[in-house]
């Protein structure tokens, strides 16, 4: 691997607690993510990993704690504000716009880069037209990068699962995010597709310098890709360290093997 270019802390999570009614989903979680690194969050099912991403993203609002992103501290924000600050995301259950084509889905990712108002759009001349073409070029670069030219006009609802995941990644990339949150990007893929996805993630980090936080269950992938790993279980933080240390951490091993804890 090339020299890792890891900078300062870009995201800081402080004492986040989240409950739904009486169910405590996240209990006093704190960690940070550095610019340019690949950070993984792992843990058994139901540990609260997706919820953590949802909090960073603005979908869930924590009862306690705060998030500092690029120097701005806030307790909660709306998802579209998070998007405008440079956070992009994919979902476990694929949140693509099923009624639109691959190209259109990726173009929607460019939404925040496009500014022309209703009037010019209605006429589709001048600034609206130029903007549309510029952003089409940007979208095509991503299509190239992800090697999905052949399906660009197909409605995404008709694509196989693995390709849908790739398109979703494309849409997230289209926003040129500073922080990319990936929720189980390799779930349900065979080993060939997993290799492809791994390669894409590494390339994104290498070429664009994007900071990546991902949730993943495949330990091999996690240990290979990540700079640091956060381990959650039942909403509690078990470990937060480099992959080698986490691999040998007894508490983590117990959690995965199901040793009951008090």
């Amino acid at each position: 691997m090339t020299e890792r270019n890891i900078g300062d802390v870009i995201l800081k999570v402080d004492n986040i607690s989240l409950s739904f009614g009486v169910m405590k989903v996240l209990d006093d979680i704190s960690f940070d993510v550095r610019q340019g690194e690949i950070r993984s969050i792992i843990g058994p099912n139901g540990a609260g990993k997706s919820s953590m991403l949802n909090v960073i993203n603005g979908f869930y609002h924590p009862q306690q704690g705060s998030i500092t992103f690029k120097g701005n501290t806030r307790k909660q924000m709306a998802p579209h504000v998070a998007a405008s600050q440079g956070i992009a995301r994919t979902f476990q259950n694929i949140a693509l716009f099923k009624g639109m084509s691959t190209l259109d889905n990726i173009m929607t990712g460019r939404n925040l880069k496009m500014k022309t108002n209703l009037f010019w759009q209605a006429l589709h001349i001048g600034p609206a037209r130029t903007e549309e073409i510029e952003n089409r070029e940007a979208a095509e670069r991503i299509i190239d990068f992800l090697d999905i030219q052949a399906i660009r006009k197909k409605p995404v609802g008709k694509l196989p699962y693995g390709l849908q995941k790739r398109v979703e990644l494309g849409r997230a990339l289209a926003a040129e995010p500073d922080l990319l949150l990936l929720d189980e990007p390799m779930a349900g893929m065979n080993s060939e597709e997993k290799e492809d996805m791994c390669r894409f993630i590494i390339d994104v980090n290498d070429e664009f310098g994007t900071t990546i936080t991902l949730i993943e269950h495949d330990m091999g992938v996690v240990m290979d890709l990540s700079d640091r790993v956060l381990v959650l279980d039942y909403g509690k933080q078990l470990a937060d360290d480099v992959p080698d240390k986490v691999r040998t951490n007894q508490t983590v091993i117990d959690a995965y093997l199901g040793v009951p804890h008090e």
């Binding site: 993203n57 603005g58 979908f59 709306a78 998802p79 579209h80 998007a83 405008s84 992009a88 995301r89 979902f91 949140a95 693509l96 716009f97 099923k98 009624g99 639109m100 259109d104 173009m107 929607t108 990712g109 939404n111 925040l112 496009m114 022309t116 209703l118 759009q121 209605a122 006429l123 589709h124 609206a128 037209r129 903007e131 549309e132 073409i133 089409r136 070029e137 095509e140 849409r171 926003a175």
Partner: protein, 358 residues
Amino acid sequence: MIYRETGQFKSSYESDQALFPIKQDRYVILGVLIVTFGVVPGLLNEYWLNAILLPFLIYALAALGLNILTGYCGQVSLGTGGFMAVGAFSVYKLMIAFPELGFIPLVLLSGVITAAVGALFGLPSLRIKGFYLAVATLAAQFFLIWLFNKVGWFFNYNASGMINSPPMTVFGVIITGPEGDMTGKYYLVATFVALFALVAKNLARGRIGRNWMAIRDMDIAAELIGVRPLIAKLSAFAVSSFYIGMAGALYFAVWLGSAEPTEAFDINQSFLVLFMIIIGGLGSVLGSFLGAGFMVLMPILLKNIMVDGFGTDAALAAHIEIITVGVLIIGFLIVEPHGLARLWRIAKEKIRLWPFPH
């Protein structure tokens, strides 16, 4: 063989994004435009104009509007009749108060007023969705009709509650009211509809259209890409109401010449336009036209077949017509819920492959 796309390579994004990228489509549209503006005016007569052409065009405009809201943005609305009424009454008051502004600006203005009203009634869409939103729009429908029936200011305290269109001219030709010139009316309405169909197509293929469709497909995910649901939904309501308001204005001033709120703009009107976009095809400009044409022509055809053809009694024929509409709606929903536009696309696919079966 006829409809082959091979050999038509696009060498720039611009040409790929053109309105009609396939050459054959361009010829068809050119043909349609020539017929619409060149051939039909020569064949006009009162019956064709008033029974078929004007309602078709005006309803197509309303259908375009509703399609923007429901087809592209996924917000169901049963308030179309009420919003058409807003357009009609706005243009009426404007024609009386500011006749010097000219008819076309007044129609546009009435569209703007309806857009504002539409955005207001669209506010609930931020908290409620789907079927429940449809109920909220029903509130708009009933309230607006009551308003125009009850509040005298809207119909200038006229004893009958009706509004009559004063004659206004465009480029020297009388358009509105009963003395309106046939050809003038036709050209005005046809031009309006053609222009705004183009606008609708432009909006749909641009950023705003994509944002609307994102809201329709998964509004939670739309927030992810920075779409503000409030802005997107309200803009859909506003643009949609703009179209529907203008359709209402033209409906009253150019086609009917006079109107009474409960008859002209009641809930049946809302259902009618909704049927048009469902049968025609949700989220499709072509579908709006096909649906409007279908729902305007069908009752006429039925009546001609039954009353003139079989000599059926008029009342009975009316009942049979109602049954047929119902059966057709159900039939379409079962067979092709994506409407005539989808059927058209399938037909084009077949033509493309002809004479090969697949």
